[in-house]
């Protein structure tokens, strides 16, 4: 009996001890780390607020405020905002917010609306190696997105993204109502304006326009195209001996018009300068070589971001024909990014500060022999 109780006692003591140890071990194991739950960031701001609070985008913000688009941009969205930074505005001569007062408010609003897409467009949404992928803008017209992807899907992919010729230098900035990309220059859509109308508006190209008219190349620039025109300034043509007084006295039949003025026109192409860069990524060949309309002279065109400035530049080399020993008539480069990529309704116009050929280089053979 006594023995039985003793046994029970030891049993109870054992169970008691067990529970005590269990309790201690449970307490011990309960180490309460401060768990952090991923809370959505409440500091992400809507588009207009983000731009307003960013020192790199003060001029774009000023334009948004002036045109009243800022209000719209704080709404639900979604939006994709392509913001040219202040440097980009400086390049086209806008340095302070008051500079916008000189501009027509409606056309400024249109221009700004072209930089906004009514959708959320991340880098990953654009197909890799897409060229001229079109997206509708808030303005109603379309912009052209081109992307050259090196190693898409790799851990450190490199994507060169351009919108209508302007490079996205900072991509995928997340906003509460969309996404933002920073551009290194303004997109310059001319909307309904065709190349002819655009050129005739500008006083720096009057000699070029007069030359095109004189040599019968002018009318086509109002047609559907597309064309890519490298418009030489009056000074550029003057250096090659082409002035108004020359044009007045010149006999068009003496010269090969397709070279004298046709060399500045690419037919059936609309090239942004950045396209060369994109194609050199896509298929390692960003050059475009073609015969001029006289079927003899040969043009080699190329563009890239070159050492030492890494500014987007284009190069044109005009040869007398396509053989290795041909004469190089012109070999020029141009790198003022702010004056490239004027997107007209029937093509693209780029500024050119050097002439390609002088009249005496393109005198027709028969005339020469006489």
């Amino acid at each position: 009996m006594n023995r039985n109780i003793k046994y029970k006692m030891s049993q109870m003591r054992f169970i008691g001890c067990f529970f005590v140890y269990l309790f201690i071990s449970i307490l011990q194991s309960c180490k309460h780390d401060n768990l952090t739950m991923p809370v959505p960031n409440e500091n992400i701001r809507p588009a207009a607020d983000f731009i307003h609070n960013n020192y790199e985008m003060r001029l774009f913000d000023a334009a948004l405020q002036k045109t009243g688009v800022a209000m719209e941009l704080n709404e639900a969205g979604p939006f994709t905002v392509l913001v040219p930074n202040d440097l980009a505005f400086n390049e086209i001569g806008i340095f302070r917010p008051t500079d916008f007062d000189k501009m027509n408010k409606d056309s400024l609003r249109r221009m700004i609306a072209y930089h906004i897409l009514p959708r959320r467009l991340y880098l990953r949404d654009i197909p890799s190696n897409a060229v001229d992928f079109r997206y509708a803008t808030l303005e109603g017209s379309e912009l052209y997105a081109s992307i050259g992807s090196i190693m898409p899907g790799a851990t450190s992919p490199s994507n060169m993204l351009f919108f209508s010729g302007a490079k996205a230098i900072r991509k995928d900035v997340v906003l509460s109502n969309g996404v933002l990309h920073v551009l290194d220059k303004l997109m310059k859509p001319q909307f309904e304006k065709n190349i002819q109308e655009w050129l005739s508006d500008k006083k720096e190209y009057t000699v070029f326009v007069a030359g095109l008219k004189k040599f019968g190349l002018w009318d086509q620039l109002a047609e559907k195209g597309p064309f890519t025109v490298f418009a030489p300034t009056n000074e550029a043509l003057e250096k090659k001996g082409i002035t108004m007084s020359f044009l007045d006295s010149a006999v068009p039949q003496r010269y090969i018009a397709e070279v004298l003025f046709g060399a500045y026109i690419m037919y059936d192409k609309h090239f942004f300068i950045s396209d060369s860069q994109v194609f050199s990524i896509i298929n390692s060949n960003g050059s475009y070589k073609y015969h001029l309309k006289d079927n003899i002279h040969y043009m080699e065109y190329f563009a890239n971001e070159a050492y030492p400035t890494w500014k987007m530049s284009y190069y044109m080399k005009l040869r007398s024909n396509d053989t290795f020993y041909s004469i190089i008539l012109a070999d020029i480069s141009y790198s003022v990014g702010a004056k490239m990529d004027y997107l007209c309704s029937n093509g693209v116009v780029h500024d050119l500060d050097q002439g390609l050929v002088s009249p005496d280089q393109v005198i027709k053979k028969e005339e020469n022999e006489k």
Partner: protein
Amino acid sequence: MKTQRILHGVSVLGLFLILFTACTKIDYTQIADPAYLRVFNNINYVQTMGSKDDKVPYFCMLINPKTGADGKFTGAEIIGDFLDKRDPYAPPYPSHIGNSTSLSNPEYPGKENVLVGPVLNGFDLSSWAQIPSGEVRIVFAYRPKNTVPFFELEERLRNDILIDTVINLQSKEVYTLHLLQKDFVKKDHGILLRQENFHKLPLSDSLVYVNFYNMSAKGFWEADASLKDDDYKLASFKYGIKDEMNVYMSLYESQEELSHYAATVKGYRGKFMSTIRRNTSSDVVSSYASFPLWASNHANGIRTSIWERFDFFAPGMNPVTNPFYDSDRNTGSNWAVLNCLLNGKVGLTSNENGTLLPNLLVNVHSGKDNPRTFATVNTIEVVNGRVYLTTIQRKYAPPIY
């Protein structure tokens, strides 16, 4: 006893459950009187600066389209969407399905999940779609290269029609339909419907058959080189071949020796095969030339390692009188070379000018042999500086593991 009875009850219940839940009614699609059709888009494009503003030949094929009140297409009996340029190699079975995540279809039916042809006289027609026979209207409409199905595109994007025509298909016949450029200068396009006859011919299964077509556009080989695709892989074919060419074949002993100087099978060095003439309108089937599967002395009746090299020469030249260097690529369209070996991706290491396609012979695991070499029936088509190989294979014994 009791447990046994419960077990019985449960199993009977389970059986009922399976029987009733498994009964799904499937409506099998059927085409009453089918013809068998395979469609290739031979209009090629490359992504270069010069071709940036060209229209991309990327199509939606509509067979017997339905039109709405305004004359616009609202649907079709058969839709072959996302029809891309064709692959250089059209394999004997629709392998595209398991091999890519892209919607772009290198041929029709290709990746489409449709009723396909049966095994006809030993030939596996699973790459041919069943199409209602008789007169059918066929339309090829340009479409943007994206992932939106044709009839979900905006209306304005659905009106660019390349071809709208009627073709006549006979019941139980095998057809290949080619979308072609007919004139390189005028940029005319058209179609070529060919009624194949390989399944009706008494073809031996120990001979490898091949026939040739030149479906290049008029004026291609004469055109300036700058207008042609700049692709180094096309090698001597880049500039096109002349309108009439003789084809010579050499059989090389081993795919392990990647050289055009390597040993050839006795009697098969520069052997004349056929003459081809440029043709984009006639639907006549070229006659098949053949060579024995076991031509090589090194073959053991199960496996052989031979590969084929085809020389296309303008009349008056042949492998013996060939005036060009082996590495000449621009031969004035007088000589072009095609090497068919391995998977068509491995080039020769010797300095030569051939473009590449896979070997005509098919090696697969069949019966106890892995691999076993099979003879095939092939079509080699030259289109504007590119060469395409279509291989048709017979049914073979399944593998035993």
